[in-house]
Symmetry: C2
Subunit: 138 residues, 2 copies
């Protein structure tokens, strides 16, 4: 019925030390313990930890997850705040994509270097002098 930390780890794909870390920073509640002080988890903890893992995979910061968990535990409130957190995160993600796309274009230009001696290498030049490249300002 109850799970060891290792079983919880296997079911959620979250590493054992990470589970303990989440408990330490208060993302996961302290589970019950056996007489020998080993942690035993309830099946619901799988769901909560999956929530955390998925949110982390999506790039939510721990602090944001903490907020989401707080809101999620209060089923009668409007989900406007949840919406706001997600929207803020979406904006960050879009910005990051824009910056990486500019970067990708710049790297692609750089990679067109044609293997002469270092002293002629465009990559080195571009890195040494920002003005040399068509850099999209950020």
């Amino acid at each position: 019925m109850s799970l060891t930390i290792g079983e919880l780890s296997r079911q959620t794909q979250v590493k054992v030390p990470t589970i303990r870390y989440y408990e330490q920073i208060g993302l996961l509640a302290e589970p019950t313990r056996t007489e020998g002080q080993q942690r035993r988890y309830r099946p619901e903890d799988v769901r909560r930890l999956n929530f955390i893992r998925h949110a982390r995979e999506l790039g939510f910061e721990v602090e944001a997850i903490r907020q989401l968990l707080g809101l999620a535990g209060d089923p009668d409130r409007s989900c406007g705040e949840v919406h706001d957190i997600t929207k803020a995160h979406l904006k960050e993600v879009k910005d990051k994509i824009a910056r990486l796309t500019a970067l990708r274009d710049e790297l692609e230009t750089m990679v067109s270097c044609n293997h002469r001696r270092i002293s002629d290498c465009r990559i080195i030049e571009v890195l040494a002098d920002h003005g040399q490249c068509r850099h999209v300002e950020h």
Copy 2:
């Protein structure tokens, strides 16, 4: 003729503690010192630090920059290795863009939540159960 660490900082937009940190980890050579132990930089150091800063902005890791600097200091070698480092980095950047784009789409679906009570909120559901969403595996 020589620059204080503050002037170097202003010219390169790299913060003073970061310059000292780069020296500590061996990215920047130890500069000359005044009698009172204050650092004095040569104009060439501006160029080297700009190289480092730009490479960092482009997302190169310190270790990669160390390699690039080593290669750049050896003007007679083929720049094939430089090319390889950049290409590997380009691949990473492309992968990151792909993952973020999938994430963006997922977040956009989530944001279409229509502000009812938390218990109906799609965002919470999606986070709680990975299977609910059309997630691009990575």
